[in-house]
């Protein structure tokens, strides 16, 4: 039986060096990763979107992502959307604190008491957004494990790799997350070429991928063919 881990939420902090709010975004993000939601969150260095490769840029496609920005320039949100994919949540620290009549403190280097308090409330807000995203995806809480028969992977600093397989659907090349582990799971569950298998595959693929309703039929047909090939390969 394939062991299926929980899906995680990605957190991208601006870590802005010039202002205390940048440090607050950074420290709050790490607090969520290390203390509040360990095992349920992952992160990626923001500048790695530009310096990294396709795997790093796939981050926001692999994970529902929350951008944490220090100021209204929204570097984390905008850079994530520019290089990787749409974010699922966004927090702008200066505005967030102002709305709660809180101060970011005066030091960008070593946070003072006000800065620490700001970190606490921002981290709690991030954690709430993470919980909301995981809760609203309760049907996706058990997701496939990577296998070694993959064409690529979506990586992050702190999380496991989710494999990406490229498939031609309706004449277009589409990168699908976790396709091989989905096939592996279905194979081990005894699904073969019977009625409703295409529905089952599509349901499992949708755990990790957005499938527009308009192309649902093309996905079902292509994925069924791919799965039949997978079964033939497994059976020699």
């Amino acid at each position: 039986m394939v062991d299926l881990p929980q899906k995680k939420v990605g957190i991208i902090a601006c870590s802005g060096e010039e202002i205390p709010e940048g440090t607050i975004s950074r420290v709050a993000a790490r607090k969520v990763l290390d203390c509040l939601m360990p095992g349920e969150t992952v992160t990626l260095c923001l500048p790695l979107f530009l310096a990294g490769d396709e795997k790093e840029r796939a981050f926001a496609k692999s994970y529902p992502t929350i951008a944490v920005d220090g100021c209204g320039k929204l570097c984390a949100k905008r850079a994530t959307e520019k290089y990787s994919g749409a974010v699922s949540g966004s927090i702008v620290v200066d505005k967030f604190l102002e709305e709660r009549d809180l101060s970011p403190g005066s030091s960008r280097r070593a946070l003072d008491e006000e800065g620490q308090q700001a970190v606490t409330v921002v981290a709690e807000e991030i954690a709430q957004q993470v919980a909301h995203l995981l809760g609203s995806r309760s049907d996706t809480q058990r997701a496939p494990q990577p296998s070694d028969a993959t064409a690529g992977g979506a990586t992050c600093c702190g999380g496991p790799t989710i494999p990406i397989t490229r498939v031609k659907i309706g004449g277009a090349s589409v990168g699908l997350l976790a396709l091989e582990p989905v096939f592996e799971q279905m194979y081990q569950q005894g699904h073969r070429d019977g009625a409703g298998v295409d529905e089952e595959i599509l349901k499992a693929v949708r755990v990790y991928n957005f499938v527009p309703t308009s192309v649902e039929q093309s996905y079902k047909e292509t994925l069924l063919k791919q799965y039949q090939k997978f079964c033939r390969d497994r059976e020699g």
Partner: protein, 142 residues
């Protein structure tokens, strides 16, 4: 950009959030900018360069820049280059660590005493680069 800002050296660390060496680079930057060479140096949000902010790009094009990177991806150096700037020097945290292997960094958020010492050693290297740049400027000015 004010005229007083014109000849400042920009120190830009990667501030990597996933690895403790990113925090060492960030701390070393603050040691230089706030304590060792205030008035002669400044820092810039690297995320602004990643986003392609025009004002940030203008600053790195118009100033000498020293980058500090925490891992081989060299995000600080790559982002500065992509913005049209050039690192007068690129320092890798790991090189300073190799010179002081006893200074083990505690964690990303809390460097611990050894991590802070490592940042201080790195800051000395940055300051040497800043001073060398300033000397060159002085020579050029006659």
């Amino acid at each position: 950009m004010s005229s007083a800002d014109d000849d400042k050296v920009l120190i830009i660390p990667c501030s990597g959030i996933g690895k403790a060496f990113g925090s060492v680079g960030r701390e070393a930057t603050y040691v230089v900018v706030d304590d060792m060479r205030p008035g002669e140096t400044d820092t810039l949000c690297l995320s602004l360069l990643t986003l392609g902010d025009e004002e940030a790009k203008e600053r790195v094009r118009g100033h000498p820049v020293i980058t500090i990177d925490g891992c081989p991806k060299a995000c600080a150096e790559v982002n500065v280059k992509s913005a049209g700037g050039r690192s007068a020097a690129n320092l890798k945290v790991v090189d300073t660590y190799r010179e002081h292997p006893d200074l083990k960094v505690q964690a990303v958020l809390d460097l611990g005493e050894p991590g802070r010492k490592l940042a201080a050693f790195l800051a000395e290297k940055v300051v040497a680069e800043v001073d060398a740049l300033k000397d060159k400027e002085d020579e050029a000015d006659g």
